[in-house]
Structures are given as C-alpha cells and as structure tokens.
C-alpha cells in the first residue's frame, strides 16, 4: 500500500490509501453527529496534476499539497544538510515602527537580551536574542518603518 505525505497549512499528515476507506467523509452514516451540507468541505481550487488543492472546511482554508513516494525520493536526493554557522537574523515579525534599538554593531549579546522594540498596532513588542553572539550589523534606525520579514539585526 502506497503512503503519501500530505502537507496541509504548515502541518504534515501521512496517509495511505487504506486510511481512506475509514474516512468518515466518504461514509457519513457512521458519524454520530448530524451533518448538514454547510458542514462539508468545499473544494475551492483543484489542481490534481500539480497535486495541489485548496479546500474550505469549518471556517478554515486549507492549502493541501500531496507528495507521493517519487516526490519524497526527489526530496531526499536534493536534500543536503548544511552545518551553517550559528548566525541569526532578527526579522520583523510584523510591519511596524522601530521605537528603540538597544544594541549596536559589535555588541556582545546573550540569549534573551532585548535587542529592539518594535511598535505595531499600538502595542510594543520587544525582540530578543535567541542565542549568544555578537551583533554583526544593525540594518535599521530608530523611527524607521519596517516590513514583515525585514532583517533588522544580524547576529553571529
């Protein structure tokens, strides 16, 4: 029996064809909860050739990507583990305004040290170092507006 890796909104579920026969969806009679039509998943977009599906279910949207054993094999071959240096990029978790920068280039920081205070939607968020290191570069200035994902500080 073939098994498949189903990637679904950052989660992974392994399924085999065998699991499908137990699915409550294809056999709703054994469900003890009375289902009305609105409760059933709706396929918003279906791309079986690309093994991609967009499905809405109970208020959530699920982006599904199916990987069969060939895909998994390709994944494994292309996958090389890199023993990267312990560098850390402090990124903005959300768009906002830099209120305060607590470190400068060359500073030694320890895990948990406050690095930068970011304001978004009237809340102040303190970004902290995830591990010890030295500040290589500070890419932003106080008062600057930043985008989500923008690298604010690099630590090595």
């Amino acid at each position: 029996m073939d098994t498949f890796k189903i990637l679904i909104n950052e989660h992974q579920i392994d399924l085999s064809e065998d699991d499908l026969t137990k699915s409550s969806l294809s056999n709703s009679a054994d469900s003890n909860e009375h289902r009305i039509k609105a409760d059933e998943p709706r396929v918003l977009n279906s791309e079986p050739l690309k093994k991609r599906f967009l499905i809405a279910y109970r208020g959530q949207i699920y982006r599904v990507k199916i990987q069969d054993k060939n895909d998994l094999l390709i994944d494994q071959m292309g996958y090389t583990q890199t023993q990267g240096t312990k560098s850390e990029h402090i990124k903005a978790p959300m768009p906002g305004l830099v209120l305060e920068i607590k470190v400068k280039s060359g500073d030694q920081v320890q895990q948990g040290d406050s690095l930068i205070v970011l304001e978004a939607m009237k809340m102040e968020n303190v970004l902290k170092a995830h591990h010890d290191g030295a500040v290589r570069v500070v890419n932003v200035e106080k008062g600057q507006a930043v985008d989500k994902g923008q690298v604010l500080i690099e630590i090595e």
Binding site: F4, I6, I8, N9, H11, I13, L15, E17, D19, L20, S23, S24, L25, S26, A38, D39, P41, V43, S46, P48, L49, K51, F53, I55, A56, Y57, R58, G59, Q60, I61, Y62, V64, I66, P93, M94, P95, G96, L99, E119, A120, M121, K122, M123, E124, N125, V126, K148
Partner: protein, 495 residues
C-alpha cells in the same frame, strides 16, 4: 435640543454601527476619514464624508482641530466619538461643546474624573464602592515603585493612570522584573495617551472581569442594564464577552448594579457608560474603572435587553428623560460576542497583516456581525486590528455556545489569521462551557499546541478528501477511453 446631523469622529465598525442607528432615527451622518480609509465602508455609507488627513491617527482621528473643523464645515449639530481615539478625552468634549456642537457623551468633567484612575477611585470611595488595594497617587520613580509593591505584596499590576484597553499595563511577579516592566508601561502609556503616569495595585488572582452597563439622563434618572462577563482576555484586552454572567445571581446583580449607579452619580454622569469590576474567587467585587463611552462589547447588552444603546445615547444628548425604568428592564436569553481580530492566536496573538482574499461572514437567526471591512481590503497597520464583532443571541447559554460555534464554522476568512480559531477553542473548552474560567484563561488553558490539536481532526478529514480527489483523478487519467460523462459526474461530486 434638536439633532439633525451627527458627525462620527471614528472609523470602521463602530462608525458604521452608529450611522445605522442615526439613519433609522432620520438623522444625517457625516463620516471623517484618513488616507488609509479612503475606500472604507464607513465612508461610503455616510451621507457625507470629509477627509481629515494622513493615516497615522495623530494626523486624523486624534486631531481635534481637524475633526471640529469638519463638523463646523458640514453643519453637524452633534459629534459621536465612538470608542477609542478621542472618546475619553475631556479636552475634546469641552472643545466640541464650546464650538456650539453637542458632544454625545458625558461632560468633560465626568470624563476627567473617571479618566484618571486615581480620581476615579477617590470618587467611587466617597460612595462606599469597594476598591482593590493599591496606590492612591501616581508612582514617582523606581524606588517609590519598589517600596509600594513590597507593601502591597507581589504580584502587582502596573497601570497607566490615563490608560485603557490593556495599554501601559503590566503584571510584575517579582522585584527583579519591576524596572523593565515599569519602563515599558511608562513608555507605552506615554505613546498611547501622552501621559506616562502609572500607579500600582494588588494583582487579584483568579479574577473575573464583570462590568455593568448604565444609562443616565440629564434629569437625574439612572438605570443599569445588567452585567457583561469579559474574562476571556489576552494582553489584558477582551476577546470574548457574554451576558448574563453565570456567576451572578439576582441579589449580586442588584448589588453590583446599585454600585455601578453610585459610581455614575459620583461623577455626575450623563449618557451610556460602563462600570468595570473585578470579582474574586469569593464573589467579592471591587471597582476597577469607569469607561465613559460606548463599549466595544455593547452589542451583547443590546441583545439581552432589546435596547439600542446608541439610540439611548442620542436621546439623552437631546435632553430627553429616560424612556425605560429599572423595573421594566429584563434579561432575555443569553448573548456571546467574539471579537474577530487580525491576529495569529498560534503565534502569541501577533498582528496578522495582509489582504482579505476571502471574507464571508456568517448570517442567520440570532447572529449579528458588526464590521467595517469587505473582501479584498487590506488590514491597515495604523489602527486597532479588529475586523469585526461576531455576536450570537439564543434562549440560553448552552444554545448560544452552540450557535456561536456554528457561526464560527460558517465564517470564511483567507489571507490573514484571525481570532476565530481561538474562539472555537474557547467555546469548545470544558471550563468555558461550565462557566468556570477567569482572566487567566489564556495563560492557563491556551497554547498554540492546544490550538493545533483542536484543528487536527479537521485537517485529517481535509487531507483525506484531497487524497481521494487526487487518486480519483489519477485513475481517470490512466483510462484514456473513459466516458466523458463519468468524468463530469465524479468531478461534480465535490463541488
């Protein structure tokens, strides 16, 4: 006093909600808007709309000169401030009145008294309303803070004197954290309210946040419209509210209602207001603060009483005596509100910015959704990240919970994360269903892992469906001579 035209000094859902009532009362509406809100629903719904400046609040919704100038220009005879922004700014209320325009709300003096938590406590104490132990004066410096905190005993709560909405508020569990939390609270208070003064009070453990809605007219009449239970909070900000509270029986309700009216009298209050209390594990209540405006969560009270609070605000502003007495007020059924925030509950409720690719709120009997958004709109970073308020009303609490769960399931949002998933977690939680929860619910009971687990069965079902679709398609591709009608039929099944 006649009110023919109201300018709403606000945006989003609350601006729309006020306009709906105004229109029903045959009163014209004037919207104001910033650059970011040019295409917003509240601008299009209003009879007139006036541009007041840049997206950042200080240039627009917090700018008194521009708003008063807009009111004068449009010929509005009243201003409704909504909540947030200038709604609790005594200077604004005074300046509106000085311009010959009616401020729909209490007097500047009432706002000033209740807006400062220290004077608010003094006023309440004069009427023997119980208070949480704490400082009666603003904290001067760190040494003072350390001394006071040690006297009261940790944990303590640092609060902005001018605060509200959880801003400038920090819990401190031990002295070594005091300095950093003090400076954060002071800085947040300065940027949010322009006043960095903070004070310290005892942090009541297992507290329930219960508030009483009151209405007071200009003729000395006041009624209370029962309680709202607002204990489900994150960052000291409410997310789920309900009315009535399971904890409160009719005798406690009467006592708290009377205390709330006393607080209103203590500041000569006029209009709709909310008196917030903490209820401890022994069901003792302590006065927290009074919100001298319409609350975000006012719809739950409207549901259970059948009273339109905005209509009452306007009537009171017109000088009419209250048209309802305490004896006439009754509780009908149970109502629950879920605030739908553009936040990621799986990531410490961090703001979730993006475009509403899909936005289909639920409808149905007993479902009310107040919002100011539409599909395709971008969530602006300049303002509070609330999309709207999902409110349900049903005959009893159990049915209300069921109705809310159905409403959440029927609410489709894509493009951003929202607190809808959090709502489902809470309403499915046994502690919530039993009514046995307090303001620590989120820290005690909630985590991103538990949220994940809540959705695991759904994910599995969806994954199975996707795999079925894929395999079905694959089988058909392998059969080049397959009848096209079978192809169509099998595809249609899943539409």
């Amino acid at each position: 006093m006649v009110i023919k035209k109201i300018l709403i000094a606000n945006r989003g859902e609350i601006a729309l909600r006020i306009m709906h009532t105004a229109r029903r009362m045959n009163i014209s509406t004037v919207a104001v808007y910033s650059e970011a809100d040019q295409l917003s629903p509240h601008v299009r719904f209003a009879d007139e709309a006036i541009f007041i400046g840049a997206s950042i609040s200080s240039e627009s919704y917090l700018n008194m000169d521009k708003i008063i100038a807009a009111a004068v220009k449009s010929g509005a005879d009243a201003i409704h401030p909504g909540y947030g922004f200038l709604s609790e700014n005594p200077l604004f209320a005074a300046r509106v009145n000085e311009s010959g325009i009616t401020f729909i709300g209490p007097s500047a003096e009432s706002i000033r008294t209740m807006g400062n938590k220290i004077s608010a406590k003094e006023a309440a104490a004069n009427f023997d309303v119980p208070l949480v132990p704490g400082t009666q004066a603003a904290i001067k410096d760190l040494d003072h803070a350390k001394k006071v905190a040690a006297e009261i005993g940790y944990p303590v709560l640092i609060k902005a004197a001018a605060g509200g909405g959880g801003k400038g508020m920090r819990v401190v569990n031990k002295e070594s954290n005091l300095e950093e939390q003090m400076s954060r609270a002071t800085s947040e208070a300065t940027s949010a309210f322009g006043d960095g003064a903070v004070f310290i009070e005892k942090y009541v453990s297992k507290p329930r946040h219960i508030e009483i809605q009151i209405l007071a007219d200009q003729h000395g009449n006041a009624v209370h419209l029962f309680e709202r239970e607002c204990s489900i909070q994150r960052r000291h900000q409410k997310v789920i509210e309900e009315a009535p509270s399971v904890l409160i029986d009719s005798s406690l309700r009467e006592k708290m209602g009377k205390a709330a009216i006393d607080v209103a009298k203590a500041c000569n209050y006029v209009g709709a207001g909310t008196v917030e209390f903490l209820l401890d594990a022994e069901r003792e209540f302590y006065f927290l603060e009074m919100n001298t405006r319409l609350q975000v969560e006012h719809p739950v009270t409207e549901c259970i009483t059948g009273i339109d609070l905005v209509e009452q605000q306007i009537r009171i502003a017109r000088g009419e005596p209250l048209n309802i007495s305490q004896a006439e007020l009754q509780i009908y059924g149970h109502a629950i509100e879920l605030r739908v925030y553009a936040e990621d509950p799986g990531n410490e409720f961090a703001p979730s910015i993006g475009i509403l690719n899909k936005y289909q709120p639920p409808t149905g009997i007993g479902i009310r959704y107040d919002d100011g958004f539409e599909e395709g709109m971008q969530i602006p970073i300049y303002y509070d990240p609330m999309l709207g308020k999902l409110v349900v009303h049903a005959a009893d609490r159990e049915s209300a919970i069921r109705r809310m769960l159905r409403a959440i399931d029927g609410f489709l949002v894509d493009g951003i994360s929202t607190t809808l998933s959090f709502g489902r977690f809470v309403l499915n939680h046994p502690a919530f269903q039993k009514g046995d929860y307090d303001t620590n619910f989120v820290s005690d009971e909630f985590s991103s892992e538990k949220l994940d687990a809540e959705f695991e069965p759904d994910r599995r079902e969806v994954a199975q469906l996707a795999l079925e679709l894929y395999l079905k398609d694959k089988r058909q591709i392998k059969l080049p001579l397959a009848d096209s009608s079978i192809w169509k039929h099998s595809r249609r099944q899943w539409r």
